[in-house]
Every structure is written in structure tokens, then in C-alpha cells.
């Protein structure tokens, strides 16, 4: 299953790209409209990029009234990414959502202040507000991400999205001032890939929820690696910026990687990186709820 990473595709300006996905994930929607952060908002780093978009979005009301109906016309299952600054914010948006495939709870944007409640408390609040599948998006900026995975699983999350960006900073070569308007931004791209693999690997051992893996995926092999670490689906982020045709290419490359290794279908490789290391343990339970 192939998705875009939240904030890395606008299905309305690139419908062809969105239609090539199994589900389209919206940019994070907050209760009130947000202009986002002051420029500069993006900068390239070594094998990665920083962004400080700051959850620019039209806000819940306009999203529901103007954007969502147009997204529905695309004929692609929709996941709405929900953000906020308090558990109540999240829950209210969840309550207002209907007729979509899933809700992704953005519990981990490095570019805005976090809610005062813990990720688990937010998931608990949202769980009472909706019956839609709830996918908790976690940050790799944690000493033990698996602990957070367990906590949100206990509160009723149906899946995990791993990983969001991690805070980084870059300076201007000449002025030595931070290049981003906000100084600090979120690191994405290939530099993040080992961190994403480690997070998926750890959480797949900790909980039994399906995982959407993301972080630095550029090729079918990267997608294969996330699956092998335990992801059931893969999301494309930064790679879409250089290649709007990445979804089609990625499927072809993944099929090729699988065939070259005699490995069957994508579903069959979920978790295989664990096999050796789980030899003397309880095998991973790979039977998971489908989310779309």
C-alpha cells in the first residue's frame, strides 16, 4: 500500500500523482486557519532537507466546506491528517470528519508548539470522538519511540505512522544566520532513512498495529526496506518534490526488487528483516487490520 506523506502533496494541484496512490493523506488540518511560518521555509542539507512550513492550512471549517468535497471527487481514499494545540482540538476535528478512509493524528510536528497533553491522551480523546480508523503519527525524537507506540496502542489507535521529521538547523554560508525563517525546521529525506527504519523496526516489535513507514524513501528498495522492518504501507514525502511520478516508479521498482529476490507480494515481506532476530522468540503477528 502506497500513500503520500502528509504535507508533501496537494492532490488538487497534482491529481495525477494522487490518483497513483492507494490513499491520499491531506496536509495537517488545524482548527483555525494557519498562514504558516515566515519564509524561508525550506533548505537543502546533506542528503536531506529542512522545512518550517508550520502547518499552513485553511483551517477546519474551510477544509470541510471547500477542500474535502473536491478531494472526494478524485476517487482516491482520503486520509485526513489532524493537528491541534490541545486534545480537545484534535477530538473536535475527528468528530466533524466522516466518509473518509482514516484519520492520521499528527502528534509530532516539530514546527509548532506541541499540545500540553501527551500523545496517548490525545489518542484517547479522539477515540471517544470517532469510529474512523485512527493512525497515530509519532516523532523519532524520543529516547524510546516504542514506548510511545505502546501508549497510543493502549488508548485505541488503529495504526502508526512512522516517522515525522526531526528538528534540524542550517546556517547561511555567507551570513552564518539560520537559513530558515524560524531557524529550526524538520529534517526529512534520505538522511532520515536509518532513523525511520529503526523506529519502524522497534515499534513493529512493540505493538501489533499496522505501520505506515516513511522517511527518506526514494526508490523501490527503500520501500522494500521499510516493509521488511515491519511497515504494512509506505508513504512518499520528500521524493515527491523531485519526482511527481514517484508513485508509479516506486511500484515498478518495488515489483522488480521483489521479483529479483523471489519474494512474492509486498504483503509477504512485511517484517522479514526481523526473522533472524526473532528466531527464538514469538514470531511477529503479521495479520493486521486493513486500513483502506
Amino acid at each position: 500500500m502506497l500513500l503520500n506523506a502528509s504535507g508533501c502533496l496537494d492532490a488538487l494541484t497534482a491529481p495525477e500523482t494522487a490518483r497513483a496512490l492507494d490513499a491520499f493523506v491531506t496536509k495537517t488540518v488545524t482548527p483555525l486557519p494557519r498562514a504558516g511560518n515566515a519564509p524561508i521555509r525550506i533548505v537543502e542539507t546533506e542528503a536531506g532537507m529542512l522545512n518550517s512550513i508550520g502547518l499552513a492550512n485553511p483551517g477546519r471549517e474551510r477544509f470541510l466546506a471547500d477542500v474535502l468535497p473536491r478531494l472526494r471527487e478524485l476517487g482516491v481514499p482520503i486520509w485526513v491528517s489532524v493537528g491541534g494545540f490541545a486534545a480537545g482540538d484534535y477530538a473536535e476535528t475527528c468528530e466533524a470528519l466522516d466518509g473518509i478512509a482514516a484519520i492520521e493524528l499528527n502528534l509530532s510536528c516539530p514546527n509548532v508548539d506541541a499540545a500540553s497533553e501527551s500523545a496517548a491522551e490525545i489518542v484517547a480523546a479522539c477515540r471517544t470522538a470517532t469510529d474512523l480508523p485512527l493512525v497515530a503519527k509519532l516523532s523519532p525524537a524520543a529516547w524510546d519511540v516504542a514506548e510511545h507506540a505502546r501508549a497510543v496502542a493502549a488508548e485505541g489507535a488503529d495504526g502508526l505512522s512512522l516517522v515525522n521529521t526531526i528538528r534540524g538547523l542550517a546556517l547561511d554560508e555567507t551570513t552564518l544566520a539560520p537559513r530558515l525563517g524560524t531557524a529550526v525546521g524538520g529534517l526529512s529525506g534520505p538522511a532520515l532513512k536509518p532513523i525511520a527504519l529503526a523506529a519502524v523496526h522497534a515499534c513493529a516489535r512493540a505493538v501489533d498495529l499496522p505501520i505506515v513507514g516513511m522517511g527518506g524513501v526514494r526508490t523501490g528498495r527503500d520501500a522494500l526496506e521499510l516493509l521488511a522492518c515491519g511497515a504494512s504501507a509506505v508513504a512518499l514525502g520528500t521524493v515527491l518534490f523531485s519526482d511527481p511520478e514517484a508513485p508509479v516508479r516506486m511500484r515498478a521498482e518495488l515489483a522488480h526488487e521483489l521479483a529479483a529476490r523471489g519474494l512474492g507480494r509486498p504483503e509477504d515481506v512485511v517484517g522479514i528483516a526481523h526473522e533472524d532476530r526473532l528466531r527464538h522468540r514469538k514470531p511477529l503477528d503479521l495479520a493486521r487490520k486493513a486500513l483502506v
Binding site: 504535507g7 502533496l9 494541484t13 497534482a14 504558516g36 525550506i42 542528503a47 518534490f241 511520478e245
Partner: protein
């Protein structure tokens, strides 16, 4: 918009700039002022470049080597390939009566193509040095202004100004010619509306320059 791997057919120095010519493949050149995202070898993100020239079968870009991405583009050799996405954004409106092209530095880039389409209107091009001013040779009917003089000092009224250049120049042009069409710049990760990186404040709200621009009407 469409993405193809195109082959470099020419790399020529134009003063300190490089004119990079690639085979057009199946890409549409689009309208003057539109841009393309060019893969910069060894870099993660592509770089936005205005279409400079559109001879049959080719696309030409004028590149100012100011950083790692543009330097990598200038270092390409004939026969090498790069992925190109476009045409993107909104170009100049061409329904103008008395056009005057006003450019500063690498802002000259979209004018050779624009000048052809508008049938060689007058152009006023400002440069830092005589070496940079070599790029003026790519534009018909161009009048060169060298620093410390500025193009805005020679702007005649009653013209439909189409301008491209550094932000301070565009602000100065806008002050003198409120109806001018201005081609702006912002760092862009994607060029097609996906990243919200290129947001600029426009009429009180933030818009994506790659979608609503890069050419905007002065307010």
C-alpha cells in the same frame, strides 16, 4: 506539466552565466515567464529555472552559479541527462499594448523567449558589471544600465512593464509602475504546489508562488 529525462545539447558561457541547452523531448515550452524544475546532479531537490530560449526541439536555460545546485547545473556537459519537469506556474500575460521588459541580473533569464513572443519590444536591463551585461546580447532591443545606476532611473511612464529581477528591484519597479507584471522568486522544493515552501504574502494571505506565480500583477 510533464517530467522527462532530457539530454544536454549545449553548454555555453554568457559572461558569468551559463546557457544550458537541452533537447526538448516531449515537453511543452509553455509561455514566457513559466519555469521548469531541473534536476541538479548530486542534489536532493530540483532547482527552478525560467525558460530562456525555446528554439525548435530545444529548451534553453540561463543559469547563474550562486550555490551548489546551480553550480552543478553549470558543470553539466553535452550528452549528460537530467530530469526536467514543466512547464510550471503562470507566465507573463501577453495582452499588453506598449511592453517594456525590465530586468536585473539573472532576472534577464526569461526575456529572450518573452522578447521573441512579444516581437522584440524595448528592454531595460541592469547589471552589476560589464561581464554580467554580456547576457543582454540574448535580448533584442536591450538598453544596458550598469551599477551604480539603476533601471528604475530610466523607467519611462506609460509603458506596460514586465519585470524580473532581485526583490529590491521589483519593489522599486512596483512603486513606479503599479500595474507592472512582476516575476518573483522564492526558494522552491517542488514547483508544483506540493510543499508550501514557496509561500509569499499576497493580498493579505499567503499563496504558493509556484502555483499563483511566479509572475504576479503588482497590487
Amino acid at each position: 506539466m510533464r517530467r522527462e529525462r532530457l539530454r544536454v545539447v549545449g553548454v555555453e558561457a554568457v559572461g558569468p552565466y551559463t546557457l544550458l541547452r537541452v533537447g526538448r523531448g516531449g515537453l511543452d515550452p509553455g509561455a514566457p515567464g513559466q519555469f521548469f524544475m531541473l534536476e541538479a546532479p548530486g542534489r536532493l531537490l530540483p532547482r527552478p529555472m525560467s525558460l530562456c530560449l525555446a528554439p525548435p526541439g530545444e529548451l534553453g536555460f540561463l543559469v547563474d552559479p550562486i550555490g551548489p545546485g546551480t553550480r552543478a547545473l553549470c558543470a553539466l556537459g553535452p550528452g549528460e541527462e537530467l530530469a526536467v519537469l514543466g512547464p510550471l506556474g503562470n507566465g507573463f500575460r501577453l495582452d499588453v499594448q506598449r511592453p517594456l521588459l525590465v530586468g536585473g541580473g539573472i532576472g534577464v533569464a526569461p526575456f529572450p523567449y518573452l522578447s521573441e513572443v512579444l516581437r522584440r519590444p524595448p528592454a531595460l536591463l541592469g547589471f552589476r558589471t560589464p561581464a554580467h551585461a554580456e547576457a543582454a546580447a540574448l535580448v533584442a532591443n536591450a538598453e544596458v544600465v550598469l551599477e551604480p545606476e539603476y533601471v528604475t532611473q530610466r523607467l519611462e511612464p506609460g509603458r506596460d512593464v514586465l519585470a524580473c529581477g532581485p526583490e529590491p528591484m521589483l519593489e522599486a519597479v512596483r512603486a513606479l509602475a503599479p500595474a507592472a507584471q512582476l516575476a518573483w522568486e522564492a526558494p522552491m522544493a517542488c514547483g508544483y504546489g506540493a510543499c508550501y515552501g514557496c509561500a509569499v504574502e499576497l493580498g493579505g494571505t499567503w499563496k504558493r508562488l509556484c502555483v499563483e506565480g511566479p509572475v504576479l500583477r503588482a497590487a
